[in-house]
Symmetry: C2
C-alpha cells in the first residue's frame, strides 16, 4: 500500500484533530476510503485475531435510511439523560454541546460516508477502537472530518435488520466522514493532564 499521501507529521495530526459534525456533500473518493481502511487495520488488536470489521456506507439511499435511525437513537439517549426533547429546537440555545450533536442527528442523512466499526463473535471494543482512531486520524491528515458516535439499545434490532448484521457481531462506533462544511481543524479543549494522569499510584499527580 502506498501511504505517502499520509504525509502530515503525527504531532500535527494528533494535536489538530477535533470532532467535525457538519460536512460538505462531496463524496470521498474510493481510493481514499481504501487508504483509510488500510491505515485503520494496522492498529493493534488482541492476539492478532482481527475480529474488527468495517461496514462502509456511501449509497445515498442507505445513508438517508440510516439518518432516520440515527436521529431516533440520539433522542432516545437524551431521554435516558432525562430530557424530553424530540427536535433540535427543544434544546436550550445555551446548551451548545447538545445543540451541536443534535445538528449531526438532523444531518446524518446527508453525510457523504458513514463507517460502522464492528467486531465478530461479539468481540470487545478494545480490538476495534484502536483501528477506528487510526481511521479518524488518517482522515484528518487528508482534511476529512469525523466524530465517533454510538447508537442506543432501542434501535439495535432495526440497525441489524437494516444492514443484515448478524446477532453475534458487536457494534462499537458509528463514524460519519466528510470534508468539513465550516469548522476548521485546530485542536480540542482538554483538562490539564496533571489532573487526569497519575504516577505510581492512583491520586498521585503527574510531576509536570
Amino acid at each position: 500500500m502506498d501511504y505517502s499521501m499520509l504525509s502530515m507529521p503525527v504531532g500535527e495530526a494528533m494535536f489538530t484533530q477535533r470532532s467535525i459534525r457538519r460536512f460538505r456533500p462531496d463524496p470521498i473518493p474510493m481510493d481514499i476510503l481504501h487508504l483509510l481502511i488500510e491505515a485503520a487495520v494496522r492498529a493493534p488488536n488482541g492476539g492478532n485475531r482481527q475480529i474488527g470489521r468495517f461496514l462502509v456506507l456511501t449509497d445515498r439511499a442507505k445513508i438517508r435510511e440510516f439518518g432516520t435511525l440515527y436521529h431516533d437513537a440520539w433522542y432516545a439517549k437524551r431521554r435516558d439523560e432525562g430530557h424530553a426533547w424530540t427536535r433540535a429546537e427543544d434544546i436550550p440555545a445555551t446548551d451548545k454541546n447538545h445543540r451541536s450533536a443534535a445538528g449531526l442527528a438532523d444531518h446524518m442523512k446527508d453525510v457523504p460516508c458513514v463507517v460502522f466499526a464492528l467486531a465478530t463473535n461479539n468481540g470487545p471494543a478494545n480490538s476495534v477502537i484502536p483501528a477506528a482512531q487510526n481511521l479518524m486520524l488518517a482522515a484528518r491528515t487528508l482534511g476529512i472530518g469525523s466524530v465517533p458516535t454510538t447508537l442506543h439499545a432501542t434501535v439495535m434490532d432495526r440497525f441489524r435488520a437494516m444492514f443484515g448484521i448478524p446477532g453475534d457481531v458487536a457494534f462499537h462506533f458509528c463514524i460519519p466522514l466528510g470534508y468539513p462544511a465550516d469548522a476548521k481543524f485546530g485542536g480540542s479543549l482538554r483538562r490539564p493532564t496533571n489532573e487526569t494522569t497519575f504516577f505510581e499510584r492512583w491520586g498521585f499527580p503527574a510531576p509536570w
Copy 2:
C-alpha cells in the same frame, strides 16, 4: 505543547507500528512521557466528558510488584483457554504467539514503564481507547515500542489494592512502554481488507 518532535509522517507511523514485547531497560525521559500523554488526550472521547485516566508506573519496585500480578493474570487467561501451562517452558515451541506473549509475562517486571488506561465512573472503553492508540502511535514515532494488554478478572482486586484504584474506576488497557530490545518496527500481518470491510450491507465486499 511543543509537538514538533512527533515529526514522523502519519502514514509511516501507522504502517510500521507493531507490537513490541521485549524492551531495553533504559528509562523513558519524563518530558517524553509528558508529550505522549498530551498527544493521547487529544483523541476524541464521548461528549468531551474526559472520563479517561492514565496511571503511569516508572518506579522499579512498583513495576516489579506489578510484574508478578501480570504473570498470574496471563496464565489465568491461558487456563480459561484450556491450557494447563504455568511457565513459558510448558508452551510448545511451535506456538510462537503464546511463546512471545509468555515472554512479556515473564519480563513485565523489568519493563521501564507501564501505563494503565482507566476510566472514571466505570466509563466505557470507547472514551479511553482512542487515547491509548494515540499514545502508542506517538510512542512509535519516537522509537518507543508498546503493546496493549489486558488483565484477568481474578487479579482485579489485587490490582486495585496494589495501586489504590477505586472500585468505580474501570480498567481498560495495560501498556508496557520501552525502547525495543531487538524487534524492528516494520508493520504487521493483516488479512486483506476486502475480507474484513463491507460496503452498504454486511457481507458485501469492499470494491478493491
